[in-house]
């Protein structure tokens, strides 16, 4: 044991110039003091309660937050912006007005009154006093709500030692809220999802061939049966759309022609049912998507030429955001082995178009 200690000492002894007392002291300062100060400057348990969330309504806001630093506080700055980030430029929420606000209630750290107010800015002031109660709340009455329901707004909070919200900040943090309405305003363009499926469709879905089935002919182990159908889709919803393919693979009674679960080449002589949404040359069937909107695309597994797959419920095409009308051609292939049981093999594929969340 003694030998081990001597050996360890001899090793560490050489490092004594690197880990000097000064360096260790500096590290202590950094880890013990610097980190907690940075983390502790935010108010804790922040929240905003709106008495009414109706756009444009005159209502009361209760701001709740906990002071963290026990230093004397003389003012609290409340800046109403679209963006909660303290150092970003502040854009006032459309329609919001706090210029007639009244401080109707306060709890926790009290003694404040409104020193200054503009349509999106309020400064609460009091004689500088050290913090004794952490959790505090301030109710501002006669506040006019923002009018935009589609985005949240924020209140950027800062506490200062001065009585006019100038000089260094002590604590900071933001709260967020959103006005909501039960029913979409009639004046807005309602989101729409347009969708059609048939043997052939027009880009705008206003004309279809009227045939919504595909006769693929007679099964043979020597060749691949093929068919195609079309669907057009478009939406002005910001979330985009998704189309899923639903329904079992081709079957006759209890006999099912299996479908590959990963993109696979067409292989005559095997039992295989698959689809894709692009132009193929082996076999020659299908077309690439038509339409100028690049964001509406086949799902990657259904977008590989000459490779086919079919899993019920899979998303076969989608757009992550607004997409005007786009036309997809779905190619179907069926291969059969020599020992496939006789029968009339059929299926119904239901394409379901939905919005995205």
């Amino acid at each position: 044991m003694h030998h081990k200690l001597v050996r360890a000492h001899s090793r560490v002894h050489g490092w004594r110039h690197i880990f000097s007392e000064e360096l260790l002291a500096m590290l202590l300062v950094v880890f013990i003091f610097a980190s907690p100060v940075a983390a502790a400057t935010r108010f804790q348990d922040r929240g905003l309660i709106m008495q009414s969330a109706t756009p444009g309504a005159t209502t009361a806001y209760t701001l709740k937050f906990g002071y963290v630093t026990p230093a004397a506080v003389g003012s609290v700055d409340m800046l109403f912006c679209d963006d909660p980030i303290p150092y970003n430029p502040c854009v006032a929420p459309a329609g919001l007005d706090v210029s007639n606000a009244v401080l109707s209630n306060q709890s926790g750290e009290t003694g404040f009154s409104i020193a200054t107010k503009t349509p999106n800015h309020i400064v609460l002031s009091r004689a500088p006093t050290p913090i004794f109660s952490s959790a505090s709340s301030y109710t501002l009455s006669n506040v006019v709500n923002p009018t935009q329901t589609e985005k949240a707004f924020s209140v950027r909070l800062r506490s200062h030692a001065s009585t006019d919200a100038t000089g260094p900040q002590i604590n900071f943090g933001s709260v967020r809220a959103q006005v909501t309405t039960d029913i979409t305003l009639e004046t807005q363009v309602p989101p729409m999802l347009v969708f059609c499926v048939a043997g052939e469709v027009e880009d705008n879905c206003e004309d279809t061939s009227g045939i919504n089935y595909s006769d693929m002919g007679q099964l043979s182990s020597q060749s691949t049966l093929q068919a195609q159908s079309q669907m057009a889709v478009g939406t002005n919803a910001s979330g985009g759309f998704a189309i899923t393919a639903n329904g079992d693979p081709l079957s006759a009674g209890t006999n099912v022609i299996d479908a590959p679960t990963t993109p696979t080449l067409s292989q005559p002589g095997t039992n295989q049912f698959g689809i894709n949404l692009v132009a193929n040359n082996a076999p020659s069937v299908g077309n690439d998507p038509e339409g100028m909107w690049q964001n509406a695309i086949p799902s990657p597994d259904y977008g590989i030429p000459n490779q086919f797959k079919y899993v019920p419920g899979d998303v076969v095409a989608f757009s992550p955001d607004v997409s005007l009308m786009k036309k997809f051609t779905v190619s179907y292939i069926v291969n059969s082995s020599e020992n496939l049981r006789a029968g009339v093999y059929t299926t119904t594929i239901t394409y379901i178009a939905s919005g995205r969340f």
């Binding site: 309660i49 039960d182 899923t244």
Partner: protein, 346 residues
């Protein structure tokens, strides 16, 4: 004899048309993709569903059904629970929602249906969601593959009050969009100019969440640019979902005409990034009205190294190395320094 009968049967089966053809319902419709409501316990909302039949010839026969859904992956695609015996989810709106069972819409016209959502008194706060499935009539008889079109309206309802909110950052960084033959994903080093930054949040709470905030992108020389809207589409993280939210580094906004109405669109455009190392900082906020506002902060890095830059860098490095070698060689010659090479053993 049995074998001969089997051959005849197979032959007949293959030669006969699959099914006789007959007229079909329209499969061309226009619906509302999403509805959002905020309803206090004990209150209800009566709303309208407008459905349009775009087919100029066939009537559109639709059956309406309320189904539950969850998430498919980390995107916004719903996973629809279509089975009649699918178990009801804990966030289902089925018990509270009413829609008509069926509707027939004449060719090239539209109909407006009544729907309602009624929340019982004393019902707990949270997010509830289900979908309305519009199934078109069966396909015409004939052929091997019948086609049918259906649409879905997603319905989200928020019941205000004290809720359990808990988002955790799983990933953050540069992101490439899905293309027809490539899946979307995060990248640490890329030769293509990144146009998107993304973050993945796991929702462990009992409400859907739509974070807000900003992302600051800084290059090697400290030049900053800020993305002020980190959730431009108001996308949601569903209960239990790990959801990836994407933001364009540079956005291009435009208005487009869709079915006679002007609609705003946003798309990514080249942000004009220089090759190099980038640091991105995410500051996201979330919290429902009346609940605690919570903050998420994360930093990520990525390299943007286009091929032209890599090749130019290697060439420049080679040239610099050559000149350094030449200078060293010249200095050695000037001062008569011999290179220290181990003499070969003879």
């Amino acid at each position: 004899m049995v074998m001969a009968a089997f051959v005849v049967m197979v032959g007949l089966a293959y030669m006969l048309p699959a099914r006789p053809a007959e007229a079909a319902s329209s499969a061309s419709l226009s619906i509302v993709p999403k509805k959002n409501y905020v309803i206090e316990p004990g209150e209800s909302v009566n709303d309208k569903l407008t459905i349009r039949n775009l087919d100029p010839v066939q009537p559109l026969e639709l059956n309406l059904r309320i189904i539950d859904f969850t998430f498919t992956d980390d995107g916004g695609t719903p996973k629809l629970m279509l089975a009649q015996d699918a178990p009801q989810t804990t966030w289902s709106l089925k018990p509270f929602m009413k829609v008509p069972e069926s509707v027939t819409i004449p060719p090239n016209s539209s109909k407006t249906l009544d729907m309602s959502v009624e929340i019982p008194a004393n019902h707990g706060a949270g997010s509830y969601y289900s979908a309305i499935l519009y199934s078109s009539g069966p396909p015409g008889e004939g052929g091997n593959v019948g086609l049918s079109a259906s649409g879905v309206t997603l319905v989200f309802t928020s019941i205000p009050g004290q809720v359990n909110e808990n988002l955790v950052i799983e990933k953050f960084g540069a992101y490439t969009k899905a293309t027809a033959n490539k899946k979307a994903g995060y990248v640490f080093m890329t030769a293509d100019e990144p146009q998107l930054l993304a973050y993945t949040l796991k929702n462990n709470g009992n409400v859907t969440e739509a974070p807000v905030g900003s992302i600051t992108l800084k290059d090697l020389f400290g030049k900053e640019r800020t993305i002020t809207d980190i959730n431009p589409n108001g996308s949601l993280a569903l209960i239990g979902q790990s959801r990836t939210f994407t933001s364009c580094i540079e956005v291009e906004s435009a208005n487009v005409d869709f079915n006679g109405a002007s609609s705003p669109t946003k798309s990514c455009k080249s942000p004009g990034l220089w090759p190099g190392y980038y640091t991105a900082t995410l500051e996201a906020y979330y919290g429902q009205n009346g609940n605690r506002t919570q903050e998420l902060v994360k930093t990520a890095n990525f390299w943007y190294l286009p091929w032209w830059f890599v090749i130019a860098f290697i060439i420049a490095l080679a040239i610099a190395s050559y000149y350094v070698w030449k200078i060293v060689h010249a200095i050695r010659r000037k001062f008569g320094i011999q290179s220290k090479r181990t003499p070969r053993r003879k």
